[in-house]
């Protein structure tokens, strides 16, 4: 069990580093979603399935979705501004 715990913590550390190192916001949203999923797995390994479920729904689904939609909105606004000029 301790091997699993160490492994999942290393994975989470690698995932967090990957989120920071990803520069493009669009790619970052996808990497952050994967990181959220890893965090969910970590909570499950540490025997808190309730928190794991919340983490997966918020971190892996809701947050990346909001980032993607916000990015789409920002781009649409940018396009509109170019139209006007």
């Amino acid at each position: 069990m301790i091997v699993l715990e160490v492994a999942v913590m290393l994975l989470v550390a690698a995932g967090g580093t990957a989120v920071v190192l990803t520069r493009d916001p669009l790619n970052q949203a996808i990497v952050a979603s994967f990181y959220g999923l890893l965090l969910g797995v970590m909570f499950l390994v540490f025997q808190s399935p309730d928190v794991a479920l919340s983490q997966i729904t918020v971190g892996a689904v809701a947050l990346p979705l909001m980032i993607l939609l916000a990015l789409a909105k920002v781009r649409a606004l940018g396009g509109r501004r170019e139209d006007r000029e």
């Binding site: 309730d50 919340s54 939609l69 649409a76």
Partner: protein, 254 residues
Amino acid sequence: MSPSLRRRVFLVAAAVAGALLVWGLSGLPDYGIYRGPYGDVLNAVAVGERHATNVVAAVTFDYRGVDTMGEEYILFAAVIGVAILLRAQRDEREEAPDEDAADRRAPGTSNAVRVLGLALLGPVVLFGIYVVAHGHLSPGGGFQGGVVLATGALLVYLSGEYVTLRRVRPEALLDLAESSGAAGYVAVGLLGLAAGVTFLENVLPLGQAGTLLSSGMIPLINLAVGLEVAAGFVLLLSEFLEQTLVVRRPGEQT
């Protein structure tokens, strides 16, 4: 500020923050040691007192029910805030996406995504209902199940078109579901006051532990939260999609 000075300030600040972090971490209890008394107390008494086999749900929806009500209203306020921020501005008029330039339209959905989305829709909605309804028995509850239910709407959008989502998303019904979910929590709490005890105190029969109809008011509260969260997330989603897909342009000055 010159770059070298900035770097020096950063290094000092990072060293101090790092030292504080190490100091704090060294004072933590050892790995795997749990010192707080409340978890053990709750594990011993919660099933007997509340007949809820998921002790976490007994804490969040019963012992600490008022806190969770605040959390629900945080989400409620956030959804309202987004809806107000993204409302149609006075100088904008809606334009159907079909009139838009071809390069700005979303690419068509592939058949693989369409089939997968439609195949997943039923199981996802069923799983969402299951997670909401069994919140007092197993991990899950209204918040998690509500988001799972809302992803059903996302699947409809992914596997169909925005127009399809618009058709299965009657806005008045969503508004009603969200507000009645938010009000439902308070209404369940008021049951306690009506019966002459405190707000949110359980007045319903506890039932047999481990069965679906047990734990008194916890399943009712989970239902209200699930309704609120699912409707709130679908509203958030459609507000954003409305903004990105139905392109709004400034109307002609008249």
